[in-house]
């Protein structure tokens, strides 16, 4: 193989290497990071008292109770 052929082959290999691109298609289900449910929290010092972090029904009851604080007509 002559040096000229080798140079052409090397140039072709380099040129083709530029064709390699990273995949840009979106993965199935999207690229979003998974979010965790709101009742799962490690205490950051701001967690309201009256419910148990990690317990869904306890969180649900807490949110409903908290919403009733906006109700002027609720029995106190």
């Amino acid at each position: 193989m002559s040096p000229a052929t080798m140079i052409v082959a090397a140039a072709a290999v380099l040129a083709l290497a530029a064709c390699g691109e990273r995949v840009q298609t979106m993965p199935v289900g999207g690229a979003k990071n998974a979010d965790s449910p709101p009742w799962q929290i490690t205490d950051n010092g701001y967690v309201a008292p009256g419910w148990t972090p990690g317990n869904e029904s306890s969180w649900d009851a807490q949110i409903k109770k908290r919403a009733q604080a906006q109700n002027d007509y609720a029995p106190r």
Binding site: M26, G30, A31, K32, N33, A34, D35, S36, P37, P38, W39, Q40, I41, T42, D43, N44, Y46, V47, A48, G50, W51, P53, W59, D60, Q62, I63, K64, R66, A67, Q68, A69, Q70, N71, D72, Y73
Partner: protein, 210 residues
């Protein structure tokens, strides 16, 4: 399972902007961005009414439909959130939203449009609940702390209601029944739409605003 909703009682809103301030302070919202705004209808005219508007966390959100990179997601509680790691700041959501909820910080010398910012119902984002990373990108995750959004809880006249849709709808309904008026400007039907004919639960139209 709670389905989170906001509703503003136009008869009670006194345009104090306390909700706007509470939101900005609680979530460290950047300059030039207001996740919540108070809109006054017929300003200066006797009988003017004000309502506090932010993301309504639509059940069929147009922002989600138009996002070219699919950065939005809806939580099981019905809160529409987005992933700032994916947002490219194209602004399509801003054009699609009828409430003007998506906002873009422009802090560059040439008016560069940053990543979209909007009301999160104080539910943070995809980062770990209550983490510093979540706070820096999206603000406080009050829902995970067992609280309701700061704007609603700080409202001095309890005009802005936030929380489980059933509960807040009940509160508003009780008020309207007790005072005999008050959902003409901004009732549940105006905010979230009425059942369309042919859909389950559709009611016959009577030409009356809810």
């Amino acid at each position: 399972m709670a389905r989170m909703k906001f509703i503003c009682d136009a008869e009670r809103c006194i345009e104090c902007n306390g909700c706007v301030t509470a939101c900005k302070a609680e979530n460290d919202v950047p300059w030039g961005v207001n996740r919540r705004r108070v809109v006054t209808l017929n300003d200066g005219v006797p009988g003017e009414r004000s309502i506090s508007v932010a993301c309504m966390h639509c059940s069929d959100a147009p922002c989600m439909a138009v996002c070219p990179v699919d950065c939005f997601y809806r939580t099981a509680e019905g809160v529409v959130l987005h992933d700032k790691d994916i947002c490219i700041g194209c602004g399509y959501c801003s054009y699609a939203c009828p409430f003007g909820a998506p906002q873009f910080p422009s802090n560059g010398a040439f008016g560069l449009r940053g990543k979209m910012d909007k009301c999160t119902f104080c539910a943070g984002g995809p980062e770990a609940n209550g983490s510093q990373a979540e706070y820096e990108k999206y603000g406080r995750n009050r829902l995970a702390e067992g609280k309701l959004p700061a704007c609603a809880e700080m409202c001095s006249t309890k005009a802005l209601l936030g929380g489980d849709g059933d509960v807040v709808a009940d509160i508003l309904r009780t008020r309207v029944l007790n005072r005999g008026k008050g959902s003409e400007v901004w009732g549940w039907g105006t905010a979230y739409g009425k059942p369309t004919s042919g859909q389950p639960g559709a009611q016959p139209q009577e030409g009356k605003k809810s």
